[in-house]
Structures are given as structure tokens and as C-alpha cells.
């Protein structure tokens, strides 16, 4: 029994003896918490497609940064952040004024920008490897510098949500009430779009653009099934997202599967369990 216990502890501790695993775990947990909290509003406001589109739309920005900096990883965060904020506010404006339906407009922009990103990256000879890192993430190569950026910007996002919690909640539940209370509705909407944009930039290295929407939506949706309170939904989502990050990285380590995919798959399994649990309880 004792031996089994020791084996299990070793199983858990061994990956943590590598510094890249420690940094990766920390990054995955931080990103998970930020995505879960912001994702709560994404789920409640039905913005999943917007989040997915936004993540894809920043690829040309990252590609440009990648070409300009000659393949260096450090500056890419700033390129991602800049593109993401511009794209979020841009999509917000276009979708309001479009002659065609909002989701169609978003679809056209997102696919076009994504294609532009791929085209730019494909001008570099070794593009396949780098492209796959942008698309699917590479949390195990997170540097200490990147970790600090995640901590600072992720922290800013969480503080902003805390500061405007009642305004965001009122606006999400009943925009007409927000207007009759004379809350600055346009400003708050743009602030929320900006928060989603910063979250996307912060999460880039962990899950990549293609899997980003899963981090925004899946833990929050899991929590949505399990609680009737918004604050609890944020907390439960953060717990599931953190667990997904940790379990996902162990899976990645022992089964040699891509880290971003392992994290997202773990989050998806949590969702399916919550879904099944709820269905059984309703019977």
C-alpha cells in the first residue's frame, strides 16, 4: 500500500522536477482562471462565435510580428495584444453597422484575416512548426518573461471584472435597464470586448488561436450547468479551468500528446460529466 502511494506521489512529482513543466502548469492555471471568469460573460451573452472569430483574426498580427522580429517569441505577446484589441473593437463596430447579418459579417472578416495570417507565415521556410505553435499553443515553452506578462495582464483583466462586476452583470442581463439607469452602455460594451481581447492575447501561448474558444466557453459552460449564481459560476469555472490545465499537462507529459489539445480535451470531459450529471438528476 505504502509502495503504491509512493509510486503515485512520484507520478505526480516527477513532471514537476522540470522547470518547463512548472512554468507550464503555472501558465495553464493562470490562463484558465482568466478565461473562465471572462468566459462567464461570453457564455451568458452568447458571444462564443465572437470569441472564436477574434482569436483567429489576430493571426496576421502575430505573423507580422513574427516576420518583423525574425522569429523571436518574446515580442509576439505585444503584437497579439495590439491586434486583438483593434480586432475586437473593429468587429464590434462592423457587426453593429453591417448591411448583412452580424454572424455573416464576423465570419467573412475572421476567415479572411486568418487566411492572411497563414499566407504571411507561409513565406518563411520553417513555417509548419511555428504555425502549429500559433494555432494550437505551446505552453511548455513559456518563458519566465511570458509568465510575468500573463500574470500582469491576466491580473488586470480580473481586477477590471471585479471593479465593474455589477455594471457588466446588469448590462448582460438587461441592456434596457442599463440604459434607463444611465450606465455608460457603449463604454461598458467596449470595455468588455477589450477584456476578451486581452484574455485572448494572454492565452495565446497556452492553447493557441484555434483552441482558444474552448478555454473561453467550456469551463464557463460547465459551471453554468452546476450553479444558479453568477459569482459561483465564475468560481466553479475557474476551478474546472485550473484542473483542466493541470490534468491536461500531466496527460501531455505521460502520453506525449500536444499540451493545448490535452488541456482542452480535459475541459471537454469535465463538461460532458457535468452535462450527464445534470441530465441524470433531472430524471
Amino acid at each position: 500500500m505504502k509502495r503504491l502511494m509512493n509510486t503515485f506521489i512520484n507520478f505526480l512529482l516527477e513532471p514537476l522536477s522540470y522547470e518547463f513543466m512548472q512554468r507550464g502548469m503555472l501558465a495553464a492555471v493562470l490562463v484558465g482562471i482568466v478565461c473562465a471568469v471572462v468566459g462567464t460573460y461570453v457564455v451568458l451573452r452568447g458571444m462564443a462565435f465572437f470569441g472564436d472569430a477574434l482569436a483567429h483574426t489576430i493571426l496576421p498580427g502575430i505573423a507580422l510580428g513574427y516576420l518583423v522580429s525574425g522569429g523571436a517569441r518574446e515580442p509576439l505577446f505585444w503584437w497579439a495584444l495590439g491586434t486583438s484589441i483593434v480586432a475586437a473593437l473593429g468587429i464590434g463596430t462592423i457587426s453593429k453597422n453591417a448591411e448583412i447579418k452580424e454572424d455573416t459579417a464576423i465570419g467573412i472578416i475572421f476567415a479572411g484575416m486568418f487566411a492572411l495570417g497563414i499566407a504571411l507565415i507561409s513565406t518563411v521556410r520553417s513555417y509548419a512548426v511555428d504555425l502549429s505553435h500559433f494555432l494550437f499553443g505551446d505552453v511548455l515553452s513559456v518563458s519566465t518573461h511570458s509568465l510575468w506578462l500573463i500574470l500582469i495582464f491576466g491580473g488586470l483583466v480580473l481586477l477590471t471584472v471585479l471593479a465593474f462586476y455589477k455594471e457588466f452583470t446588469t448590462l448582460s442581463f438587461d441592456p434596457i435597464l442599463a440604459t434607463t439607469l444611465r450606465l455608460p452602455v457603449g463604454l461598458l460594451n467596449n470595455l468588455l470586448l477589450t477584456l476578451i481581447a486581452v484574455t485572448v492575447a494572454v492565452s495565446l501561448q497556452t492553447v493557441g488561436v484555434a483552441l482558444m474558444v474552448a478555454m473561453l466557453v467550456t469551463p464557463a459552460a460547465t459551471a453554468y450547468l452546476l450553479t444558479h449564481r453568477l459569482s459561483h459560476m465564475m468560481l466553479i469555472a475557474a476551478v474546472f479551468a485550473s484542473l483542466s490545465g493541470i490534468i491536461g499537462l500531466y496527460l501531455s507529459f505521460y502520453l506525449s500528446i500536444a499540451s493545448g489539445a490535452a488541456i482542452v480535451l480535459t475541459a471537454t470531459v469535465f463538461f460532458l460529466f457535468a452535462f450527464a450529471w445534470k441530465k441524470i438528476r433531472q430524471k
Binding site: E167, I176, A178, T180, R182, L230
Partner: protein, 268 residues
Amino acid sequence: MYTHTHHETNQPILDVSHLTVRYNGRVALEDVSFHLHEGERVAVVGPNGAGKSTLFKVVAGVLQPNSGQVNIYGSRPLGHVCIGYIPQRNQVDWAFPVSVADVVMMGRSAKLGPFNWPHKKDWDFVNHALETVELSNLSSRQISQLSGGQQQRMFIARALAQEAELMLMDEPLSGLDTPSQEGILNLLDRLKKENVTVMVATHDLEQAASHFDRILLLNHRLVAFGNPDEVLHTENLISAYGGRMRIEPAGTMVVDDCCDEEADEHVH
């Protein structure tokens, strides 16, 4: 603090003049003028698509008119936080993860100002509002677990917590059973004692006549506005409902105006 305008109390609580609103080229409201005094209860009556919701949204400052203007105590609605808009129940996301008390507390958002969390005073407002609408015992329920009448009362409590002086209620009675409708109407009587001015869109001419001080008959244009006996004349009703109404030999008028859950409305 978020902005709000002070009241010129020598001005009427609501003054609507020459209001015209168009949606995609179609006229929703045309040259509508009237004014309300404090504490009045007004039923806004008219066929579906007559512009009742549009009128409420313009009065609340949610929608801008093409021409004409709305004044609340002598100034435009956009500066005022004293207008409570109570939405139609089918426009609400009932699965939203909030409790009854959470929703009522939302009414305090403006008075609280940015970066503030509810103080004891705000909870007092919320608890008092919940007592007034008799929902204190359900305050921690998720909102989808309420009955239709309770949901409507929750929104009235939210407007009370907002310290609304003018409440606009869009079809608060439709789809409710008779006891629930009675509950809401009794609540409106209590609001009158607190000097709250109330505008209610309704389909039920009988209730409009028996429970409201004045009736505003609307069909894009203002057809008539006054005491129930003055307004509910055959001539006015024909001009408001037109082909949707027929007069039976016994002198009974039948308004055939289908809405969500109710079929026909009968007027004697």
C-alpha cells in the same frame, strides 16, 4: 457617481410633444402629444403593433425619436434615473444565473456609482422593495423558479429599488392567470399611495377601465386620452382597432386582437 439630472418639480413628470418615430421607413408613432401628472395611473391601450412598446422606449430614453420630444420634469429622459422600464416577460433570459434579490439589487446600480459594492442602505432598499411586492421569502430563488406573476412583481420591486418615480410596464398582465393579475393590480393601487406614476400597456379594456385613472388609446397616432368613460366610446375604439373589431347585434363590441396567450377581448 453616474450622471443624473435634478427635477424641476413645477414641470409635469412626463410631457410628450409631437413625437414621431419611424422604423425602417414605417411609422411607429406619429405626432403623439400628452402629459402626465405625478401619481397618475394610465393604461396604454391599442392593437398589436400600435406603437405601445415604442412609446415606452422613447419615454425611457432607450430609443431616440425622429422628431418631437419627451421631457421628464422639464428635461430630456437621458439624464434621469427615475424611469423604471419593466420588460415583457418573453424578452427576459430567465436562465440567467441570478437570484431574485440579485435582480432587484440591479436597480441600485446607478445610485451606487462605479466601483461601489452594495451598502447596508442598498440592502434596506432591496429588502423593503421585496416586502412591498411580497417576495421576501423567495429572495434567494433563481429567477426561473418564480411563477409568471412573481416574475412580474420582482421587476416592480427592481423599479422600486431603483427609486423609480415613473414606471413603464409593457404588458405586465398578459399570460397571467386571474389571481396573479389581481395581485399585480392590487400592487399598482399600493404604488399610487407612494405617489409613483404608472403607465401600463394592456390589451384588456375592462381592466383598463376599472383600474386606471386615465386611458391612452393609441394606434400610431394618439386616438384619445382621458377618463375611461370619455375614451372608451364606440367611435374611438373603431378608429383605434378598425377592422379588428366588430359590433354584434346586441350592442356588444368584440375586439379581435390576438396577442401572445390571450385570444379575444370582450367589451360590453
